[in-house]
């Protein structure tokens, strides 16, 4: 028989089972099946309460704000596309990245099933407030863990913010003013 259980708290749990006949007799307890309940996946380059400045080659600057963390917010000021990286435990073999615009304008999605060089992706989204989800699966494709950031302000600045290069979902190409000669 198969049964499902959910643990609400992290920890190491000793799972065991025994069988009972309807006649009343029972087996001994099985050997303990240790279950480690802990975080298996998270974003490594997008952290709650942080303001990131990823401008041109200066993409390592950030400020942490406890106030923003309490509000559940993240700000990303960037001239780049949305680059997401995750760290995972060794049980994780496939990771789904998902960025959902809160206004339902667009959704960016990517699956990375090659963790040899880590799990990462570049999502071609424009700008706005996004919900970021990262979901981990084991080798059998079974859901292992997931994590979400619910209010990520992705503020893309510079000429890329207009959505050139085929990403213009908010602004049509012909609306872009021509460059001066």
């Amino acid at each position: 028989m198969t049964i499902t259980n959910i643990w609400a708290n992290d920890g190491v749990y000793d799972v065991r089972v025994k069988a009972r006949y309807s006649g009343g007799s029972e087996s001994n307890w099985s050997t303990v099946h240790p279950m480690v309940v802990a975080e298996q996946i998270n974003f490594s380059n997008v952290k709650l309460g942080t303001i990131y400045f990823k401008l041109f080659n200066f993409n390592r600057s950030f400020i942490f704000s406890d106030f923003l963390a309490r509000l559940g917010m993240v700000f990303i000021f960037t001239t780049h596309e949305m680059e997401l990286q995750g760290y995972a435990t060794d049980v994780v073999k496939k990771v789904d990245f998902l960025a959902e615009n809160q206004l339902k304008i667009e959704t960016g999605q990517f699956t990375d099933d090659d963790g040899s060089d880590g799990f990462s992706c570049v999502l071609n989204v424009t700008r706005g407030a996004y919900i970021l989800n990262i979901t981990a699966y084991d080798a059998n494709g079974t859901l292992v863990d997931k994590y979400s950031l619910f209010t990520v302000f992705f503020i893309r600045i510079g000429r890329y913010a207009t959505g050139l290069g085929g990403e213009g979902r908010l602004q049509r190409l012909q609306d872009i003013p021509p460059l001066r000669d």
Partner: protein, 211 residues
Amino acid sequence: MTGNYWDNYRLLYPAADIDPSTGTWDTAYVVNVSGINIDNHPWVYPSGYIDTIPPQVTVLFPNGGETLYGEITIQWTATDDQTMDLDGSILLEYSADNGVSWNTIAAQLNNTGSYLWNTSLVSDGSLYLIAVTAIDEFYNVGTDRSDAVFIINNFAMETPEITGPFQGGNGIPFSFTAVAYHPGGEQIYYIWDWGMVTSVNGMVRTTPVCQ
């Protein structure tokens, strides 16, 4: 003891009083609202009366040839020509060696005609007998046993094995599988112990594979 002596009556009727005018003993009794005497023993038996007829006992189940496991209901009938219900006098015994030795299952039972017995409390075997004994007020003993041996086989149950994940995040549903088998095809229930936290480390983490 034959029950023909006052000492025997005193044992049987500890609340009895002697009537000094007649020299006889009587037990306290009650007449209910319908006027019916509900005292089963309003008067002791006449002096010199001796009941030598033992209770008639018959084992109904298990009476031989059965293969049993788990909880079974032992069934019997017991009647007596003088003692009305034989309550408190029923003795149940079993023998695992075809009657060579006997062990008590329960004693001083009321004569209900049935008793639930968990056979998993005794070892498996093929030479089991059940004996039911009843004693009347004159200490006549009537007994009966299974007509033939029966088998107790509780199928030593294999310990189930668990298959399932060994690690995962909180709030995620995880599936675990256990398999056990009953040769008799009996329904099997599983009792799961999801464990207590044996160590808590906020962010218990195995080796990350990437940054």
